[in-house]
């Protein structure tokens, strides 16, 4: 039943040929600050419950919040990179609701004057599976996180526990326009957003630890035979724990809405916005229980905090330390190192440290293409095999460059070089040391010449074939050469043997 705008299908139940999937995202990102948004408590993940709290984040009577300026700077840096307009004047608001993990009875957030708005972020697919898509950003605002409720229903008495370590941790909420047109695009866009925020050191975007959370809004625009476009009710999907789940949940939900529309013909506005939770193991979304009352958060300006004003000078100071965005980095790598857009994309997607390694390697080699190939094939393979991060990779760029230089000079062939590289990673030793310990030595010219003479003498059939014009027959000599001396360079053997045969 699934159909995307680009894949028209016919349906048994209606005359509809195609529909458009419309997706907007709300992303909560935890900022990489040492301390919470309004107090000095640590934001470190994984501490014992309720050990990172103080009167302020517990909301004890008489406590007052004080804004963490570092959080504000990080948020501004992210918003600038998302091409947002930074407000000269922004304020804090209280959002009220009762919940046990919200000790003050309100969350300090931003309502009508967020610190930034009107941005955009472009996502391209290097494999060309979808056209480049610019996704508008409605607003980016800051708020404090709530605590964590842990419901243990195993005891049968609905025992709930609260951990307030997370209470007051700085969150940045990014709300997009409904500009995404497929689950695949949504996933790719989230990857690009994550990459950007990690590059800017704004967030570690670790979904497992809750530092990036996604809510996805989706509905379908269905052209009807009378020319009208029917819009299905918007559903907000919550509880998605990975970008892959976002894609799967959206695919499922598009299909479910299509089925539902064919049954009910319900359109937007016919019921309040529905929230559905993603059940990952079951691969379905499920309606979440309606809140008893429609939420009226009674926002009003937070009187305990002063509004924040940002001058042009402060703004340029805040963003002066800003690193390169992934998009800029891709195009720079492409032009500076003469590599393809695809290669640049693969490198950049591996993260800033990986790109740093690549650029050191390319600089030493003065060869971007060769560096890029080694990074994508050998370095990535080693990282995966050893499940190690590039930051703690035992072979430095200089060491790898030395190895590659020897390959280019013909000292070893690529397959020998790979063996050496693998050993370098294992032992942390240099290419020369590894080659020596493996008995790999440069074979001297005289030694090589006598070996080739012997091969030519012992293989009259091959010699005859080559003389008869079948040069590829010389390959037969290479295997024998390797057997006699594994250190010989097959390229050189081939060249010498051909010369000897031609001279016969």
């Amino acid at each position: 039943m699934m159909a995307a705008a680009s894949q028209p299908t016919t349906s048994a139940t209606t005359d509809v040929l195609s529909y458009t999937i419309v997706i907007g995202l709300e992303v909560h990102v935890q900022l990489l600050t040492r301390t919470k948004l309004f107090c000095g408590c640590s934001t470190a993940f994984g501490a014992a419950p309720n050990t990172q709290t103080c009167p302020v984040c517990l909301g004890l009577p008489g406590s007052l919040p004080v804004m963490n300026h570092e959080a504000f700077i990080l948020a501004v840096r992210a918003a600038k990179a998302l091409s947002c307009r930074i407000a000269e004047f922004t304020k804090w608001d209280r959002k009220h609701y009762f919940y046990p993990d919200l000790p003050k009875g309100y969350q300090i957030s931003q309502f009508d004057l967020p610190f930034s708005s009107d941005g955009k972020l472009l996502v391209c697919d290097s494999k060309g599976r979808f056209a480049p898509r610019t996704v508008g950003i409605v607003r980016v605002h800051l708020e404090e996180d709530a605590g964590k409720s842990i419901h243990d229903e195993s005891t049968g008495c609905a025992d709930s526990r609260i951990d307030l370590n997370r209470t007051g941790v700085p969150l940045m909420e990014i709300v997009t326009q409904p500009d995404l047109r497929s689950p695949q695009e949504a996933r790719a866009w989230l990857n690009e957003l994550k990459l950007l925020l990690v590059y800017l050191k704004v967030s570690d975007c670790n979904m497992q630890e809750g530092s990036l959370r996604v809510d996805a809004n989706i509905n379908l625009h269905i052209p009807l035979p009378d020319g009208r476009i029917a819009k299905t009710p918007i559903v907000e999907i919550k509880n998605v724990n990975s970008f892959r789940s976002v894609e799967r949940a959206l695919l499922y939900e598009a299909s479910r809405q299509w089925d539902e529309f064919n049954h009910t013909h319900a359109e937007i506005g016919s019921s309040p916005k529905q929230t559905r939770g993603w059940d990952d193991p079951a691969g379905v979304t499920r309606a979440q229980r309606h809140k008893e009352e429609s939420s009226d958060y009674r926002y009003f300006p937070e009187p305990d905090l002063v509004p924040v004003t940002v001058s042009e000078t402060e703004l340029s100071l805040m963003t002066s330390a800003q690193g390169e965005t992934p998009a800029l980095l891709r195009s720079r790598l492409e032009s500076q190192w003469s590599i393809s857009a695809y290669d640049a994309d693969v490198l950049v997607n591996q993260g800033i440290a990986f790109v740093g390694y690549f650029e050191r390697l390319a600089t030493i080699l003065s060869d971007g293409k060769s560096a890029s190939n080694w990074m994508q094939q050998d370095v990535m393979r080693m990282l995966n095999e050893n499940t190690v991060a590039i930051e703690s990779f035992p072979v430095r760029a200089e060491g790898l460059a030395a190895l590659i230089a020897q390959v280019s000079s013909g000292a070893f062939d690529t397959s020998r070089a790979r063996d050496i590289f693998s050993e370098m990673v294992k032992t942390g030793r240099s290419a020369a040391e590894v080659a020596a310990s493996m008995g790999i030595a440069d074979v001297g010219d005289d030694e090589l010449m006598s070996l080739c003479r012997e091969l030519v003498a012992c293989n009259p059939k091959i010699v005859a074939d080559v003389k008869g014009g079948k040069e590829q027959a010389a390959a037969g000599l290479l295997g024998q050469a390797k057997k006699k001396n594994p250190n010989v360079n097959p390229g050189k053997v081939r060249q010498l043997c051909l010369e000897l045969i031609r001279a016969m």
Binding site: P61, G62, F98, G105, F300
Partner: protein, 515 residues
Amino acid sequence: MHPGDMSACEIAGAVARGDISAFECTQAALSRIDRLNGSINAFLHIDAEGAIASARSIDSRRARGESLGPLAGVPIAIKDVLCTRNVPTTCASKMLKDFRPPYDAFVVERLRTSDAVIVGKTNMDEFAMGGSNENSAFGPVRNPWDLSRAPGGSSGGSAACVAAGMSPIALGSDTGGSIRQPAGLCGITGLKPTYGRVSRRGLIAFASSLDQVGPMARSAADCALVLETIAGHDPSDSTSLKADVPPYSRLLEESLAGVRIGRVAAHFTEGLNPEVARAVDEAFAVFRAAGATIHDIEMPHARWGVPTYYLVAPCEASSNLARYDGVHFGHRTDTAQILASHAADRTQKNNIDSDQADSTLVEMYRKSRAEGFGSEVKRRIMLGTYALSAGYYDAYYLKALKVRRLIRQDYLNAFEKVDLIGGPVSATAAFPLGEKTGDPLSMYLVDLYTVTANLAGVGGISFPCGLSASGLPLGFQLQSPALAEPLLLRAADRFQRITDWHQRRPHLEGTLQQP
């Protein structure tokens, strides 16, 4: 002189010189508290042990030749809205009956380092909401001048404490007049500093944009001494001002020659008791005699002060008091009973509609708040919740903010023509207990002359300027531009150098009831 009759300035000097010990002063205060509190109910908690321990420490440090703080050995009472470490801090509410904060308020820290001796926590209207001190969950405070009358509120306990000589100074908080009005009704001097002059950290919030801590004492000079100690920037309160703190107590000498005092004609129309009007006009005459000039000014939006205040304050209160939900601190209803009744429901009905019935959580919230808050607090939470609700916000809260700006502008305009604004602090002398409790609106009007200073964030001081025919104190109020406390205190001090109203004492001994 009996230490109970000495001013804070006198005690601090005498203790520093060694003429009297901090222990003696503390004992004198504690024994008067012990004798009088049963009749007046000014204290919710008397910290005799803590007070004696700090007095002894002050005395031994003096004996070792160490220098002492500026309030050395001065007994001080703290309104129970201010957090005191490990000492009960209840806001006169059942909700916080058992609350012992793990920290001191900023002002309490400052008092401790200046060697004041904290004798206890004073009674108040619950969460500082009220103008008569009758909203305390622990019984009303009685006015030392007439035990059948209210002391005013919400800092009624602090005012009565100072008036009865139980301590020479006390701290109060003023959100709409809660220092100045009870000071006026109890015949003492009370200062509401400029908003942000004193840190609010550890002041349990009623209405954050209006709340301000201030001193209550028998004289402006003592208020100056205390303000010097408690004022100043606190990085932990984003709204505290970064302005330097002048040595208020040493800036009282200059005469009032050429000081322009504004008089608002509208203050003297309907509603103002003629006795009060006469006393206030006599006070203006005193200032004129002291070299000040009196000028008629207009505050065209002041008449909207009370309605504006009763939107802004309840809105903020409804938010500030959301945290008292029985989950993390404060009163929690008997949850065993809720769980039992829910279990019974389930067996009876077999299948309860979960959308109809409250969840146990919601029921816990409801009951905890219903049991923990008194009726005035509930009334204001409801007012504020209503005014902030979708569809009403613009008409009420937003409109109130606009009027608040106009009122602030009235002050700015006025202070281009005059240096201070004078007038009554209350329309009447102390009223009988119970007179207004059945009529919340009439109770709200007791703030008529005081709320505008809070809405504008300016400073105000009230001090006694006469006695009624029945012997009750009458108060005068001066208001100043932001951060003009030096002038405010100097003017009040000058008045007290000329008159002796502030030295009148209630005749307590004859009227005391046995506790």
